[in-house]
């Protein structure tokens, strides 16, 4: 699946998107898996209350199942308008 990062999440992790092979069942499991990789991921995911997630371009919760999602995106609260 593709994992996308926006705004300061992108800056902290250091890339806008990457291909991730995972067996994570939920977003939270995916976050745990990424956080265990390297410090920059751990730093980016340190406070989940400061993050939002979208599964296949729809806002979702961190306990949502990933299923066969093609795309999961992490970003801070949106500041449109």
């Amino acid at each position: 699946m593709d994992v996308l990062y926006f705004a300061w999440v992108r800056e902290r992790i250091g890339l806008p998107r990457e291909r991730v092979e995972t067996n994570a069942a939920t977003v939270a499991e995916l976050v745990a898996e990424l956080s265990s990789r390297e410090e920059r991921y751990e730093a980016a995911f340190a406070d989940l209350s400061a993050l939002r997630v979208a599964i296949d371009q729809e806002l979702a919760d961190f306990d949502a199942p990933i299923g066969d999602a093609r795309e999961v995106a992490f970003f801070p609260p949106m500041t449109g308008g």
Binding site: E71, P76, M78, G80, G81
Partner: protein, 145 residues
């Protein structure tokens, strides 16, 4: 209904040409403009977005407004990329037979665009660059609806 995501500027007058037609008595617009920050040192505002999601998120917000109020037309334009103080960032317009519907729908659109459309603003100042934090009161504003 028209929803546009673009990097280029827009012209309010051209966008509103013919908007609403002859049976709508009330047209409300909101235009967001890049304003200088409290320190008066803003050089630019970078607006990042999530290309795959932006159009669909905006369209859903506009559709929700059209379902909820009696509207003859809805327009949403949101820019991304680098903007400077005084530049227009985005606009919404609503047309209705009565002013109450047009006003409420425009406020609803703005409240949702603020917190539910995948845009992120970064202020470039002489001192550096900082992501604009979401404001609690913007999230709280959604409770009205």
């Amino acid at each position: 209904m028209r929803v546009v995501v673009q990097e280029t500027p827009f012209d309010l007058a051209s966008e509103l040409c013919g908007f609403g037609g002859e049976s709508m008595g009330a047209i409300v617009t909101f235009t967001g403009v890049v304003r200088d920050n409290a320190q008066g040192n803003l050089i630019a505002m970078d607006i990042e977005h999530y290309p795959g999601m932006t159009q669909s998120a905006l369209t859903r917000i506009a559709t929700d407004a059209a379902d909820r109020w009696s509207l003859g037309d809805v327009l949403v334009i949101h820019r991304h990329g680098r903007l400077t103080p005084g530049d227009q960032i985005m606009m919404v317009a609503t047309a209705s037979r009565h002013r109450k519907d047009a006003f409420e729908a425009a406020e609803f659109l703005m409240d949702y665009l603020k917190s539910r459309a995948p845009f992120w603003k970064k202020e470039i100042t002489r001192g550096g660059a900082d992501w604009v934090a979401a404001r609690d009161e913007d999230e709280a504003a959604l409770d009205r609806w």
